[in-house]
Structures are given as structure tokens and as C-alpha cells.
């Protein structure tokens, strides 16, 4: 396949994306999300996969309330069994499925506005609750959460090392110290407390991250719950895309990021094609973030050095 035929294919996809109705696009994206992030080790996994595959193969089903009720029943039952350990995006996906079932049982004329309304409330409440939890936890407000995360979470190590003026070895040592407190007893090294390697720069970064997160999540919560006006819509869409692009580059929680992007598309107006496309790019970017870049680069460099 040459470059011009690739370009033609890309143009066709873009044309389809611009034309496709939100009521067709959003359920399809949700089914894709569920197919990729189906909960494992569950007796409902197979029936759910069959339902999802049926939805992809037979698209009119995606506009059926019965279909979404069945999907919601599978997700809800899974949650019932794992309620205390399930990730929060599993709950959000369940609510979205309930919302789809409700929306598609409404008169067709009001389905779009009902979908936008549901998506806005789901994002708004989710963000507001995230801020409430942060506000009532002392170890978040005093900066301890981000400080310890920067010191001991391997996902943050390059960020912490670069901005916090700490060598990567020191951060590896911190993780070993934590491991000694938690698992040392297995190796006859029973350590009850340790002192972590730290730097004053990390205090500053932790302080910034603490209040930036409160600001952006709080602003998103308020903006998504405010009445639907064009200026507010512009602000909330821009902020949610900024949130996704920045947050999920570090906290690689693909399921939550994707769910937010799907709900973001769901609450877009017909004329907000640019934002719809931006959410779609965000959806793909979140997938790019979770690719094992470090091992890929290491593998490639090893291959070239041979």
C-alpha cells in the first residue's frame, strides 16, 4: 500500500468521524473500551464478551436499551462481587451503561440532549467527589501523598529525579527501604521504620502537584455541573483535555482516562467537532502513554548495537 492510498484511507476515516452521530460513536467507543479492559477471572467474562462482540457485529443493537441493560447487569454483578476492591473507573463504566440504557429508552428526539446531560453530570460528580476526598484527607492536604509518591513510586521516578535533583539510584534505594519494612520479615530483616532519601526540591514539586490537582479537578467538577452555555462548554472541554493529556502521562490509568474521554465526546454538541476530535486524540494518546517505551527503546538500542 503506497502513501497516497494511506492518505485516502485517513481522509475517509476523518470524514466518517466528522459525519458520525454521537449516538452511534459513543456506544461503539464504550464497547471497544469494555472489550479491551474486560475484568478478568470472573464467571461473567464470557457472556459479557459475547454481548460486546454482538454489539460490534450488529450495530443497531448499540441503540437498544435492552442491550445496555444487559451490559450494565454484567458490569453491576461483577461490581457486586468485588465492590471493595474494584477500581473507580469500573463504577464509572457501570453508570455510563445505565445512562445509555436510560437514554435509548427515551424518545429519539431528546436522546442526544439526554446523553450530553448524563455525561456532564457523571464527569462533574466524579471530579467533585475526587476533590472532596482530597479535601478531607489530612495526608493529602499537607502534601504527604504526593511527596511519598514522588519518593517511592516507580512511575514517577524519572519525573522526580529530573525535577527533584535526586539520582535514580536514590529513588531505587527508597523503594528497597519500603520493601524492607513490608517484606523484610521474609528475609529475617525485620525493620519497623526507615528514613527515606529526600530533597527540598521534591517538597516544592509535591506542594505544586497537590494544589494543581485540587484546582483542576475542582474546576472540572464545577464547570461540568454548571448550566450548558457555549463559553462554559469551551472552558470545560479545554480543561478536561488538558487534564487527560497531563495527568495520564504520569498516572497511567488507561481505563479511567478512556472512560473520561468517551464521556467527554458524549457531552459534546453536534457543532463542537474540534473538541470531539481532540477527545479522540486524547483517547489514542492515553494508549500511547501506557506502551512500554523504556523497554522498547532498550530493545531497539540493543538491536542497533549488534
Amino acid at each position: 500500500m503506497n502513501a497516497s492510498s494511506w492518505l485516502k484511507k485517513c481522509e475517509a476515516v476523518t470524514r466518517w468521524f466528522r459525519r458520525v452521530s454521537t449516538l452511534d460513536l459513543v456506544p461503539l467507543l464504550m464497547v471497544t473500551l469494555l472489550l479491551v479492559t474486560t475484568p478478568v477471572a470472573n464467571w461473567l467474562r464470557e457472556p459479557l464478551l459475547v454481548l460486546l462482540a454482538a454489539g460490534v457485529a450488529f450495530r443497531p443493537a448499540l441503540r437498544s436499551p435492552a442491550y445496555w441493560l444487559a451490559i450494565a447487569a454484567c458490569c453491576g454483578t461483577t461490581l457486586l462481587y468485588t465492590w471493595e476492591s474494584a477500581d473507580n473507573h469500573r463504577y464509572l463504566i457501570f453508570y455510563a451503561c445505565i445512562a445509555f440504557a436510560a437514554v435509548f429508552s427515551l424518545p429519539r428526539r431528546i436522546q442526544s440532549s439526554a446523553l450530553r446531560f448524563n455525561a456532564r453530570l457523571l464527569i462533574g460528580f466524579c471530579m467533585l467527589l475526587a476533590v472532596i476526598w482530597k479535601a478531607i484527607n489530612v495526608d493529602y492536604i499537607d502534601g504527604t501523598f504526593f511527596h511519598l509518591t514522588l519518593l517511592t513510586d516507580s512511575r514517577f521516578q524519572h519525573f522526580a529525579s529530573w525535577l527533584g535533583n535526586l539520582p535514580l539510584d536514590a529513588l531505587v534505594a527508597n523503594r528497597e527501604l519500603v520493601d524492607m519494612v513490608t517484606n523484610g520479615y521474609l528475609r529475617q530483616v525485620d525493620v519497623a521504620h526507615v528514613v527515606l532519601v529526600d530533597s527540598w526540591q521534591l517538597h516544592t514539586i509535591a506542594f505544586f502537584l497537590t494544589w494543581w490537582t485540587v484546582f483542576i479537578e475542582g474546576a472540572l467538577g464545577v464547570l461540568f455541573l454548571l448550566p450548558d452555555k457555549p463559553r462554559i462548554a469551551w472552558a470545560r472541554n479545554s480543561l478536561l483535555i488538558l487534564f487527560a493529556v497531563t495527568t495520564y502521562s504520569v498516572a497511567t490509568v488507561r481505563g479511567f482516562g478512556w472512560t473520561l474521554m468517551v464521556l467527554g465526546i458524549a457531552q459534546c454538541h453536534r457543532q463542537e467537532r474540534g473538541f470531539r476530535l481532540a477527545y479522540m486524540v486524547g483517547f489514542l494518546l492515553i494508549q500511547l502513554y501506557v506502551l512500554p517505551w523504556e523497554s522498547m527503546v532498550r530493545g531497539l538500542s540493543g538491536w542497533f548495537s549488534q
Binding site: P107, A130, K134, T144, Q188
Partner: protein, 232 residues
């Protein structure tokens, strides 16, 4: 309630049948938002709020981690399930031998870490006492006597086949002073089987004192399950 300021432009024309009330509402300028429709449209957000309120209540009245339970408290505290850990000790002839939780009990351990309670801790201690515990060094010694080199794939494969947690090659001779290698095994040979008297299980969480850079642990629960003497 009118959930949108927009005129309904997407999704096609109103259905010809079955939605008469909606069309009538349209004629009155309310875009088809009857009381029933509006109620249906808020079911999902209302469910979110109800479950989140329940989670906040439960998290404040139990040891449920704020990260879990559907209240959207992720990234709000260091007290996440992964910052909680279990310590398991087998009591054998008055000595306590540290062991890991077997993979087969992973989900029970995860639930316990997420929401510890005395009942759950006791239940997991009982299940741990029902496992087959063995000296994982034993089969290694047996095999070592029969083949020339102990660092062969056959050895490692044998250990994996027997369900041991560690597949690292180890010395066939146990160094003096090192306690028994105890691990969970599937169907261990009788000679390697460890007869335990009790299981002690502890649930801990990590705490951090930022000004002092001091990371320490805090015990949340503890349970001891005594095995009844089979001979009595």
C-alpha cells in the same frame, strides 16, 4: 428540569408512535422533557451519588481504603491497598516461621488489604492454616542427589511443576543457621510436609512523617488460628 439549552437537532425525527406525550410537550416548548423522561435521565448520576455517599460513610466507619469502593477517592491518601501489607507466620513447635501468602489466596488477601476487619483476618488465617505447607528445600535435596549438576533446566522445571513460589536455583546443601525454607506447595511429598500448630496473620499499613522523612508501619489487625490436635 430541562437538561439542555439546545434544541433537539440530533438523533433523527421524533418517533411516530409510542412517544406521543413527548411530541405534545414539544408543542409546548419543553422539548419532550416530561416528568417521567427527566426521572429516567437522572438515574445514572443519582446512582453515582448514592453509592459514593455510601462509600464515604463506610470508609469513615471501617478500615475501607478511600481509594476503593466507588467513592472516587483515588490519589487522595497514602493509605491505598498497595500500601497495606500482610505478614504471615506459621507456628511450628513454638517457633514462628515467616511465609508469603500463596497465589491461590491472592484475591482474599487483596480484599483483606482493601477493607480489613477482624472477621476477614480470622477467616484468611483459617484458610492459610488449611494450605499444604512444606520445606521447599526438600525436593531440591532429593533431586540433587540424583543428577550431576543442580543448575539444569530440569531442576527449575521441577520446582515450577511442583508449584513452588521461587524458581531460583539454590544450593543443595542448606547453610548452617538458616531456617527452613517454608512455602506453599501443591501435593508435597510427606517427608517435606510441615505440621503446623497455628497461623498468625497481621495486617499493616504504611505511614509517612514528611518533616522527619520517617516511613513506618502501623498494625491494623491481627488474628491467630490454632489447629486442633488431630491425635487428641
Amino acid at each position: 428540569m430541562n437538561p439542555s439549552h439546545d434544541p433537539p437537532t440530533e438523533g433523527g425525527a421524533p418517533a411516530a408512535d409510542g412517544h406521543l406525550s413527548a411530541t405534545q410537550h414539544d408543542a409546548n416548548g419543553s422539548h419532550g422533557w416530561s416528568y417521567g423522561n427527566a426521572t429516567l435521565a437522572v438515574v445514572a448520576p443519582a446512582l453515582l451519588l448514592i453509592i459514593a455517599a455510601g462509600q464515604i460513610f463506610v470508609a469513615h466507619h471501617s478500615l475501607l481504603s478511600p481509594w476503593k469502593g466507588g467513592g472516587f477517592g483515588m490519589f487522595s491518601t497514602i493509605d491505598r491497598p498497595h500500601a497495606r501489607f500482610l505478614r504471615v507466620f506459621l507456628v511450628v513447635d513454638g517457633n514462628e516461621l515467616p511465609v508469603e501468602v500463596p497465589d491461590s489466596l491472592y484475591f482474599d488477601a487483596e480484599k483483606l488489604r482493601t477493607m480489613p476487619s477482624q472477621a476477614r483476618t480470622s477467616a484468611l488465617a483459617r484458610r492459610l492454616s488449611e494450605q499444604d505447607w512444606a520445606d521447599t528445600h526438600y525436593p531440591w535435596q532429593q533431586r540433587a542427589q540424583r543428577v550431576a549438576s543442580y543448575e539444569t533446566d530440569e531442576f527449575i522445571g521441577y520446582q515450577v511443576f511442583k508449584g513452588e513460589q521461587s524458581v531460583e536455583p539454590r544450593s543443595p546443601q542448606r547453610p548452617p543457621g538458616i531456617p527452613l525454607d517454608i512455602g506453599h506447595m501443591i501435593d508435597p511429598p510427606d517427608a517435606a510436609r510441615i505440621r503446623i500448630d497455628a497461623v498468625r496473620l497481621e495486617v499493616w499499613r504504611i505511614r509517612y512523617d514528611t518533616p522527619k522523612r520517617h516511613l513506618h508501619r502501623e498494625k491494623l489487625q491481627e488474628a491467630i488460628h490454632q489447629l486442633e490436635d488431630e491425635t487428641s
